[in-house]
């Protein structure tokens, strides 16, 4: 591999739009610096780190480190992405936990009931907070769209709409089919139905992911006043707090059920012993932990940047 090929290969660390703009210059600099020779390990690391950082920066979730307003916006968007993870995890938890009370001894229901109620309440509060955030940004978003911003968000919105349409059509098909099946068939008796429901679930997750992506792309390009940015920052703190309560409530419910009704977690008969680590709960728990970490990073970034926002 000659020097030019080696240098151009390193450009793969960068997003394509960045490569298109600066790639030739960076390669020219490497030629000047190394004259076609093998590039040093430290320069390799510098390029790799810079490329990854450009990818994160261009995702809109990191923010410009020299611009507190951009960091507040990026932090709020990171919290929004975390919320999307919680919606997936919370839906999996809600589906898994339905009918838990029916197989739990009456004397052992107090703790899981309190945990379940706290999860539901925090989830509803979080949804309201995210809704208020959308309403607060709506006028700025509308102005941005009227001033030509639509072209930048058209593709992600079209992709999200297509995936959502596919999810709705698949959902209608799954529900129609479910009406023709018996209860036992719907609840694990018919393997094909289970696979189709799983595929539909993944389609719904994809729809949520593509809408979240579209929201991030749109809000990165929407000019927000300092007042709206502050509101979004405070709402992000609220959403993060709601996520903490959801995660804590889920863990409390899980622990209480593992102690008082382990057969529910394992899907066995009442009184039987079973694993306290059902795959659905492990996946939901992992998503919540990942979401909490990301939301924590976003919230800390906002907390550090808010005092630097000027008056306005």
């Amino acid at each position: 591999m000659n020097g030019d090929q080696q240098y151009r290969r390193l450009l793969r660390w960068y997003p394509s739009s960045w490569r298109g703009r600066y790639g030739d210059e960076l390669v020219a600099m490497m030629h000047d610096e190394y004259g076609g020779r093998r590039i040093s390990g430290s320069a390799r690391r510098s390029i790799a780190l810079s490329g990854v950082s450009q990818r994160v920066r261009m995702s809109g979730l990191m923010g410009d480190r020299d611009d507190p307003a951009d960091r507040v916006r990026a932090g709020a968007l990171l919290v929004l992405c975390s919320w999307a993870l919680f919606v997936v995890a919370g839906s999996a938890f809600a589906k898994f936990a339905e009918h838990w009370a029916a197989v739990t001894p009456p004397g052992s229901r107090a703790v899981p009931a309190a945990a379940y109620v706290s999860v539901s309440a925090a989830a509803a509060l979080g949804a309201v907070i995210v809704g208020i955030g959308a309403v607060a940004a709506a006028p700025s978003f509308g102005r941005s769209m009227r001033q030509g911003g639509w072209s930048a968000v058209r593709r992600p919105v079209a992709r999200a709409a297509s995936v959502s349409l596919a999810a709705v059509v698949a959902g209608v098909g799954v529900i129609s089919w479910a009406h023709l099946l018996s209860g036992p068939q719907r609840n694990g008796g018919l393997l094909l139905y289970g696979v189709v429901v799983l595929g539909w679930g993944l389609l719904v997750v994809a729809a949520l992911a593509t809408w979240t992506r579209a929201a991030v792309v749109a809000m990165r390009r929407t000019p927000l006043t300092l007042r709206v940015l502050r509101i979004e920052g405070w709402l992000a703190f609220g959403a993060t707090a709601a996520m903490v309560v959801v995660a804590a409530g889920t863990i409390a419910w899980w622990a209480a059920m593992a102690s008082s009704a382990p057969w529910f977690l394992g899907g066995g008969a009442v009184g039987s012993t079973a694993s306290a680590l059902p795959p659905v709960m492990v996946i939901a728990g992992s998503l919540m932990v990942g979401g909490l970490l990301a939301a924590g990073v976003g919230a800390v970034g906002i907390a550090r940047s808010m005092p630097e926002l000027g008056a306005g």
Partner: protein, 134 residues
């Protein structure tokens, strides 16, 4: 711990920030990537890797603090913009305030120093800024 401050242009105020070093270098005239790296090495004693340098160049370009000075493909030179001068002035003032305070507390004469600037372990060399940006 030093805290980064931002002025109206969100200007960084640390002498070893790649963006400050690039703006300082461009204050004396347009340069392309390799020339920038060599100039920064000569006046600050800091070697910026190609990734770090172009990461900072693209951030400054995005924020309108520098701009391409020609359409030459490959070795494209950059120049500092008016906003870039304002940001650099703000950064230089912030750094000078700290330097003056340090000099006063050490009872140093800020006008007198060894040729080529002083160097303290762990800190970049302090030397006069080109282009009269200060």
């Amino acid at each position: 711990m030093a805290k980064r401050t931002t002025g109206t242009g969100g200007s960084p105020a640390r002498t070893n920030e790649p963006s400050v070093l690039i703006l300082t270098s461009l204050a004396s005239g347009p340069k392309h990537g390799y020339a920038l790296a060599r100039d920064i090495e000569s006046f600050a004693g800091v070697t910026l890797g190609p990734g770090t340098l172009y990461g900072a160049i693209s951030r400054l370009d995005d924020r309108g603090l520098i701009e391409p000075a020609g359409s030459e493909p490959g070795r494209r030179p950059y120049r500092i913009t008016a906003s870039g001068r304002v940001a650099l002035e703000s950064a230089v003032r912030a750094m000078r305030q700290i330097a003056d305070e340090g000099a006063a507390r050490l009872r140093l004469d800020p006008q007198v120093g060894p040729p080529g600037g002083t160097r303290v372990a762990g800190l970049p060399r302090v030397s006069p800024l080109p282009g009269g940006a200060a």
